[in-house]
Symmetry: C2
Subunit: 127 residues, 2 copies
DNA sequence: CTAATATATAAGCAATCACTTATATAAAGG
DNA sequence: CCTTTATATAAGTGATTGCTTATATATTAG
């Protein structure tokens, strides 16, 4: 039921203007929804979840991530670029190597929290 | 640098077995990473972010969501099915209408937290 | 310079996805 | 029964995605 009135928002008259406005007021804009969806898109891949989980433990260079995941170097670089472009991770050069690390900004912090959230909140408690 | 030793995990010998084991121990399994990625996949769409934001305010029937979003009914049903299949939302029948609502389980709670997290944590504080 | 190593990028392909149109199901009214 | 309304599903399509192979860039060593 409705959080405000306890009745379905869609009554006999099909639509209650007051409820419609309440929902509309909380509806994210196209850009806000796209931004939120983009963050989820960047995290919505098994390989990228693993990469971020690894980088949450320790900085690492590309060849090592490829070794640990048993994946090709270009495949890992492909995902690292995606995570780089949205500033979830950054890198520094160290000799011939490129060492990646989680950004210590709010996006990086958000990612850590999201990973913990989904790791903790998979179960169900009713239904 | 490395969280444990302060040095890059990938040294002159290319790989430090101790660090490798530390990372490997924290590496999610294929299934765990897939589960986390799946949750993000279900949220990684502009329309679904909007739908969930709307349902976080009030339960609603399909036609109303379609009206509010200016989208076709099948398109909305398509996204609702995806959210239904992973138990983020549920529904009850009310006459001819199907009223959807956020699941009051940990997945639903997780989604609410995730939406808040990304809404709050978009900015950067350094770099 | 050449060679080796580490990484990035490009091109291409199979798979997936979001949406469309068309149709099926189901409830309510006549 | 038939019609209307509300929703679900199916088939098809253009766009995107993840990975591959091949190549380019960059650093280090000789």
């Amino acid at each position: 039921m409705n959080d405000i009135t306890g009745t379905p928002i869609c009554g006999e008259t099909h639509i209650d203007k007051k409820h419609e406005e309440e929902v509309r007021a909380h509806l994210p804009s196209e850009d806000e929804a796209a931004d939120a969806a983009a963050i989820f898109t960047h995290l919505s891949d098994t390989t990228r979840v693993k990469l971020l989980s690894m980088l949450a433990v320790s900085d690492m260079c590309v060849c090592e991530m490829a070794d640990l995941l048993g994946m090709s170097q270009p495949a890992v670089s492909h995902h690292l670029r995606i995570l780089r472009q949205c500033d979830v991770i950054r890198f520094r050069k160290w000799g011939q190597k490129t060492v990646y690390y989680l950004s210590d900004n709010e996006i990086g912090d958000t990612v850590k929290r999201l990973l913990h959230t989904v790791a903790d909140g998979k179960g169900q408690n009713n239904g």
